[in-house]
């Protein structure tokens, strides 16, 4: 069964079409990444799934519910980390968790959740004394305290330093091992590549590509082979890296030479993403011309 099913989803704010016909499905237990630049429609899509916004058109099922008219247990089963939100500054980490735990029928143990998000040392600290990364972990903790089946994470590491990001990634990986379904939005490519089982690239309200990070990086762009010959950098782009490499290598061996500085590089998700963006810009340029 799918945790989330979306088809033909549309949403406009006045004249601005934020989401223009989006389709995707998320399996139970999957970590799914919605990737795209700012303004691509990620947050609008997620907020429709969370039940905050009404859609203009399309079909949406989240855990079997229509989020616009959810059944009584819908909110028992989802956990939400919003892009920007604060909590009561004068309460402690434990008090904040306990308040949220009280809203659910079968919450997790508060201290277990605090340990899961790595705030044991801060359990009795006031929220206002936490660092930015610690506040984000608190956000995650209160999203998990109701023991949800589906967790929405809207740009969970925006503004983090590299160390805090790695810590957050570890936590998100631990959600997978708990069997949770996770919908993650991000504009960081490496984050999607690190965490997501599958990624949908969203741009200007439409999905331009869906697949595993590996599929995205193998289908679109050619592999790059670089080496130096007579002190000059040579770059070969190819769809058949094995054959090209074999030809180059046997030619070099025949000449009794070494292929200096040889590098074979598969395109990263970032290359694919930038290429997708570039296509769009070219298309736009043509339209304007």
């Amino acid at each position: 069964m799918h945790a989330i099913e979306v088809s033909g989803l549309r949403k406009a704010y006045g004249n601005l079409e934020a989401v223009r016909g989006v389709d995707f499905e998320i399996e139970e237990g999957e970590v799914f990444g919605l990737l795209g630049p700012n303004g691509a429609g990620k947050t609008t899509t997620v907020e429709i799934l969370e039940g905050y916004r009404k859609r203009d058109a399309g079909e949406v099922r989240v855990l079997g519910h229509d989020p616009e008219r959810p059944g009584p247990d819908f909110r028992e089963r989802i956990g939400v980390v919003l892009q920007q939100s604060q909590l009561w500054p004068n309460l402690t980490v434990r008090e904040t968790h306990a308040i949220f735990a009280g809203y659910y029928r079968a919450p997790r143990n508060v201290d277990e959740v605090i340990a899961l998000v790595g705030l044991v040392d801060k359990a009795n600290a006031r929220v206002k004394s936490l660092s930015g990364g610690q506040k984000r972990r608190l956000d995650l903790g209160i999203a998990l305290v109701g023991d949800p089946d589906l967790v929405f994470l809207d740009e969970p590491t925006t503004g983090f330093d590299p160390q805090a990001r790695r810590a957050a990634w570890e936590m998100i990986r631990s959600l997978r091992s708990l069997g949770k379904t996770v919908l993650l939005t991000t504009h960081y490519l490496d984050e999607a590549e690190q965490l997501a089982d599958r990624v949908a690239v969203l741009r200007e309200g439409q999905i331009v590509r869906v697949g595993t990070p590996a599929e995205l990086t193998t289908t679109d762009l050619q592999t790059e082979i670089r080496y130096r010959q007579d002190g000059e950098e040579v770059l070969v782009r190819t769809d058949e890296p094995t054959r090209v490499l074999a030809d180059l290598a046997s030619a070099a061996v025949a000449r009794g030479e070494e292929l200096e500085g040889l590098q074979v590089r598969r395109p990263s998700l970032e290359d694919v993403y930038l290429a997708l963006t570039a296509e769009e810009q070219e298309a736009e340029a043509e339209v304007e011309a």
């Binding site: 969370e50 905050y52 920007q84 604060q86 909590l87 949220f100 809203y103 109701g146």
Partner: protein, 262 residues
């Protein structure tokens, strides 16, 4: 899911959820020292100050009793109108309201517990004002406690409705305190919270005569100073009801859970 689990699920302990949220609201309120000071202590402080300024009789009763009634009115508006409006704007703009909407806590339970929590704070404040009045000036307690309690609940409900309506039109958390006090403090002066208004120019008294606080203070005066039942004041009750319904209707149509500023 076992039959047992389903049955537990169906029998949602609505009352327990309400009590949980009420306790949470009380914790949040008293933990914030600034709010606790301005909302709870400020009217007490004003009473001590005004009580040392006025002497003799006001409206034919000893000044400390008339002032006490006026400050009950101000305290009620300060707690239920100003305190609630400021709290709601801050919570909306900081994303707490939006965050709560993703949880199973029903909006009606949230709003209801917030109102009761506000009423608890005001009831404690009223009790403190009476104890202070008795200790400093020998003022009596209300002779008809039931009528007095009814008047307080009516007033708190009306000002809470006006507070949520006002929160709906305030755009930023930074400005909320200024806007709310810009409304409340002149209102308190014009309606006689801080002393008699007989010597005010006629047009100022005319403004005061349409404001809900005037009628709430009339109600408190009738119940506390003259020992009448609260039901003997149909005019005050009608005007208060009109303001309350207006606030409620405005709130229903305009209240937002999500931050205005992005």
């Amino acid at each position: 899911m076992s039959a047992e689990a389903i049955r537990v699920g169906v029998r949602r302990p609505a009352r327990r959820l309400f009590v949980h949220q009420l306790r949470s609201e009380q914790l949040v309120f008293w933990r914030s020292r600034e709010a606790a000071f301005f909302i709870f202590l400020f009217p007490l402080l004003l009473y001590v100050l005004l009580g040392s300024v006025y002497s003799g009789k006001i409206y034919g009763v000893p000044a400390p009793e008339a002032l006490l009634a006026g400050l009950i009115g101000y305290g009620c508006a300060n707690t239920a109108f100003a305190g609630l409006a400021i709290q709601l704007v801050i919570r909306r703009e900081s994303g707490i309201l939006k965050r709560l909407r993703s949880t199973p806590l029903p909006p009606a339970t949230y709003v209801g517990s917030l109102l009761v929590s506000t009423l608890i704070v005001f009831a404690l404040q009223a009790a403190a004002l009476f104890l202070l009045g008795r200790a400093l000036y020998g003022t009596p307690f209300p002779s008809d406690a039931g009528s007095f309690a009814a008047a307080v609940v009516i007033g708190a409900a009306v000002f809470a409705a006006l507070g949520t309506a006002t929160a709906s039109v305030i755009r930023s958390a930074e400005g909320s305190s200024a806007v709310v006090n810009f409304i409340l403090l002149p209102t308190a002066f014009l309606t006689g919270s801080f002393g008699p208004t007989r010597h005010y120019p006629a047009f100022l008294r005319a403004i005061g005569d349409v404001l809900p606080l005037r009628y709430f203070i009339n109600l408190v005066n009738a119940v506390y100073l003259r020992g009448h039942g609260f039901w003997t004041q149909p005019q005050a009750l009608a005007v208060l009801a009109a303001w309350g319904v207006a606030g409620l209707v405005f709130t229903v149509f305009r209240f937002q859970w999500e931050p205005r500023e992005r």
